[in-house]
C-alpha cells in the first residue's frame, strides 16, 4: 500500500505551509517529487491518487500535472536512470557517441531498460550544463564531461552500489 512515513508526512505539511491558506495545490509538484522518490522511482495511478487525497484535490488535477512534466516517470524505470542530454550544445560535443556507446555497453536504446532492471536510458532535452557537455543526469546529480571511460566507471560504480545495497 502506498503511504508516506510520518517524517515524510511532516515534510508534506511543511511544504503546504509555504503557501497561503487554501492554496495547498501549490505543493503538488514538490510532493510528486517526494512521492516518486519514495515509491519506486515512478508514479503509479495509486500513488497519484494518494497524493490527490493528501492535498485534498481531485485525482485528475494530479494526472494532468504528472503527464505534463518530463521528470515524472509514468512507468517503472531501472534502478539507475541515465538521462543523456542530446540537444544542440551537447550534440556539438559528441552526445550522439555517448548514446551509441551506452547502447553498445548495455544493449539499451532510449526508453529501454536492461533485462535485470538495473539501467534505463533516456535521451533528454537541454539540462543547462552546455559548458560541461556531453553530460547526463543520474538521480539527483549531473555527470559531466562524459567520455567512454567515464561512462564505464559510472556503470561500474552503479553496479558496485547495487551489490553493496543487497
Amino acid at each position: 500500500m502506498v503511504k508516506f512515513s510520518d517524517d515524510k508526512l511532516a515534510k508534506v505539511q511543511e511544504i503546504v505551509q509555504r503557501y497561503p491558506e487554501g492554496k495547498q495545490k501549490s505543493a503538488l509538484i514538490p510532493v510528486l517529487h517526494l512521492a516518486q522518490e519514495n515509491f519506486g522511482g515512478w508514479l503509479s495511478a495509486e500513488t497519484m491518487d494518494y497524493v490527490a487525497e493528501l492535498l485534498q484535490i481531485s485525482s485528475i488535477e494530479v494526472y494532468e500535472v504528472a503527464t505534463f512534466y518530463s521528470m515524472y516517470n509514468l512507468q517503472p524505470v531501472g534502478k539507475y536512470l541515465f538521462e543523456v542530454c542530446h540537444t544542440g550544445p551537447c550534440m556539438l560535443r559528441g552526445s550522439d557517441d555517448i548514446v551509441t556507446y551506452i547502447y553498445e555497453k548495455l544493449g539499451i536504446k532510449s526508453g529501454e531498460t536492461t533485462a535485470d532492471g538495473m539501467f534505463t536510458l533516456k535521451t533528454v532535452e537541454c539540462l543547462g550544463a552546455c559548458g560541461y557537455a556531453p553530460m547526463m543526469q543520474l538521480g539527483k546529480y549531473y555527470k559531466e564531461h562524459l567520455t567512454k571511460e567515464r561512462v564505464d566507471s559510472i556503470i561500474e560504480e552503479c553496479k558496485k552500489n547495487a551489490a553493496s545495497n543487497n
Binding site: K25, I29, Y69, G88, M91, L92
Partner: protein
C-alpha cells in the same frame, strides 16, 4: 580585465557559506536598502538602467514600478531560476558558487516590492542546488536577514525554494506562475499582467536570478554609478555562458564593451576554437536567437566591429543581426552541420511546446520532421520553402514567446545557410558521410561604399 560585479568574489574559498560571504562585504546592500523608502529603491534600479537578464532585456526598475498595490492584498516576488534555454547555464553557476548574492538581492527586492513571501522557482533538474539555496536561506535567517522584523524595521520576509519538474515553458513568467500554483505550465493570456494579477491572483513580479543578484551592486554603488559601466542602454555587467566548440567553455562576466572577436579568441574568455579549427557560426544569446555565420558575427553588415552588448548584437535586425538574449553563447566550428544542429533545436522546441496554441503545437512537430528528413538525405527542395512557410506561420501567432523562440532559429538557419540545406537535398548520399564544411561562411562580406 573588465569590471566584475557579480562574480568578483565567486572564487574566494568558502564564499558559499555565510561567514565568508559576510566578511567579504555581503549583506551591506540590505543594511543600506532597509533604511531607504521602497519607492527610492525602485528609483535606484530605474536609474541603473538594469535590464532583465533572462532574455527579454526589459528594464527591471520599470517592471517593478508596474506592480499594483491594492489595499490588503499581499504581493509576491518570484525569482525565475528555471534556466532552460539551450546554451544557458549562468544562473546555475551563480547559485552554486555564490548563493548568498542571490539571497541578498532577493531580500532587497522583496523589501522594495513589499513581498513577505518570496519564491525561487528553480528547474527540477537542478535538484542539488535546492539544497545549496536552502542552506543559504537558513544561514541568512539565523543571522537576522530573513524572518520577522528584519533589522528592526518591522519588515517580515521568508524565501522558499520551489522545484519545477522538467518543462522549458515554465521559464515564461505566466507559465511559471501556473506551475507555482500546482498546474501544468500553460502560459496565460496577457493582460492582465502578473504585476496586477500574478500568483494566486495577487500582484507579482517575476525576475531572473542574474537580474536579482545585480540589484546588490546597484544598491551598493548607486544606480547612477552602475549605469556608467557598459555602454549606451547596455549598462552594468552581463554573465555569458559560453559553450560549443571552444577551448574554454564556462561562465564569464563581461562589462559589455568587448568585441565578439575578443570574447571568442582571448585567453581570458573562450580561448579560441577547439582543436585548431575555424569558426563557422555562432548563436550568441541562447538557442532561440538567430544564428549568425562567422562573417556576420565579428562585423555587422555595415562593416563595423560587433560588440558583446544588447545594441551591437542586434545591429542589422534579424536580416543580418541577432540578439543578446539570455547570454547563452553557442559556438559551432567548421565541421558542424547547420541542418543537424537546427534539427536538434527544432526537436527541443517540439518537446517543450505546451500544446495550447495550434501554430506552435503543430508547427514545431512539422519543423522537426522536415528538418530530420533533410538532415538524413530524404528532403525535397520544396521542403526548404515549406519550412520557411511554417516558421512564418508560428511567429507572432501564439500566446507566449515560445512560438517565436521555435521559429527564429529555423528562419535564421535558412536565411544564412540556405545553400547548405540545398546541398543536403542535392547530395542525399554524400550528406550522410560528410558535412558541408565551412564553405564561404567566414568570407569577408562586401560592404557597399556609400557617399
Amino acid at each position: 580585465m573588465g569590471v566584475k560585479l557579480l562574480l568578483e568574489k565567486a572564487h574566494v574559498p568558502g564564499i558559499r557559506g555565510y561567514d565568508v560571504y559576510r566578511s567579504e562585504g555581503g549583506y551591506r546592500s540590505v543594511e543600506k536598502a532597509l533604511k531607504m523608502a521602497p519607492a527610492d529603491i525602485v528609483e535606484e534600479v530605474k536609474k541603473s538602467g538594469l535590464r532583465g537578464r533572462g532574455g527579454a532585456g526589459f528594464p527591471a526598475g520599470m517592471k517593478w514600478s508596474f506592480i499594483a498595490k491594492p489595499e490588503g492584498v499581499p504581493r509576491h516576488l518570484v525569482c525565475n531560476a528555471d534556466e532552460s534555454e539551450p546554451g544557458t547555464f549562468k544562473d546555475r553557476y551563480l547559485m552554486e558558487n555564490i548563493p548568498h548574492l542571490l539571497i541578498e538581492g532577493l531580500i532587497v527586492a522583496s523589501f522594495a516590492l513589499g513581498s513577505n513571501a518570496t519564491y525561487i522557482y528553480i528547474r527540477g533538474e537542478y535538484a542539488w542546488i535546492v539544497d545549496i539555496l536552502e542552506q543559504a536561506i537558513n544561514e541568512a535567517k539565523q543571522n537576522g536577514w530573513l524572518g520577522k522584523n528584519i533589522l528592526d524595521t518591522g519588515f517580515d520576509c521568508e524565501i522558499y525554494v520551489q522545484r519545477g519538474a522538467g518543462a522549458y515553458i515554465c521559464g515564461e513568467e505566466t507559465a511559471l506562475i501556473e506551475s507555482l500554483e500546482g498546474k501544468r505550465g500553460n502560459p496565460r493570456i496577457k493582460p492582465p499582467f502578473p504585476a496586477v494579477k500574478g500568483v494566486w491572483d495577487r500582484p507579482t513580479v517575476v525576475n531572473n536570478v542574474e537580474t536579482l543578484a545585480a540589484v546588490v551592486p546597484v544598491i551598493n554603488m548607486g544606480g547612477e554609478e552602475y549605469a556608467k559601466i557598459g555602454v549606451g542602454r547596455s549598462t552594468g555587467t552581463k554573465l555569458i555562458s559560453a559553450c560549443g566548440n571552444i577551448n574554454k567553455p564556462g561562465v564569464y562576466e563581461i562589462d559589455m564593451t568587448i568585441s565578439v572577436e575578443e570574447f571568442i579568441y582571448s585567453e581570458e574568455f573562450c580561448g579560441g576554437i577547439a582543436n585548431g579549427k575555424r569558426i563557422k557560426a555562432c548563436i550568441p544569446g541562447g538557442s532561440s536567437v538567430p544564428i549568425l555565420p562567422a562573417n556576420l558575427l565579428f562585423k555587422t553588415a555595415k562593416g563595423e566591429t560587433r560588440y558583446m552588448n544588447y545594441e551591437s548584437l542586434s545591429d542589422g535586425g534579424f536580416a543580418t543581426g541577432s540578439m543578446m538574449g539570455s547570454g547563452g553563447f553557442i559556438v559551432l566550428d567548421e565541421d558542424q552541420c547547420i541542418v543537424k544542429h537546427t534539427y536538434t533545436l527544432a526537436r527541443f522546441y517540439r518537446h517543450e511546446s505546451c500544446g495550447q496554441c495550434s501554430p506552435c503545437r503543430e508547427g514545431t512537430g512539422w519543423m522537426e520532421k522536415i528538418l530530420k528528413s533533410i538532415e538524413t538525405g530524404k528532403g525535397k527542395m520544396s521542403d526548404i520553402d515549406l519550412l520557411w512557410d511554417i516558421q512564418r506561420k508560428i511567429e507572432g501567432n501564439t500566446i507566449c514567446p515560445l512560438g517565436d523562440a521555435a521559429a527564429w532559429p529555423v528562419a535564421a538557419a535558412i536565411r544564412h545557410f540556405r545553400d547548405e540545406f540545398e546541398w543536403h537535398v542535392n547530395n542525399p548520399i554524400e550528406c550522410l558521410n560528410r558535412n558541408f564544411g565551412l564553405a564561404h561562411y567566414a568570407d569577408e562580406i562586401h560592404v557597399p561604399v556609400t557617399a
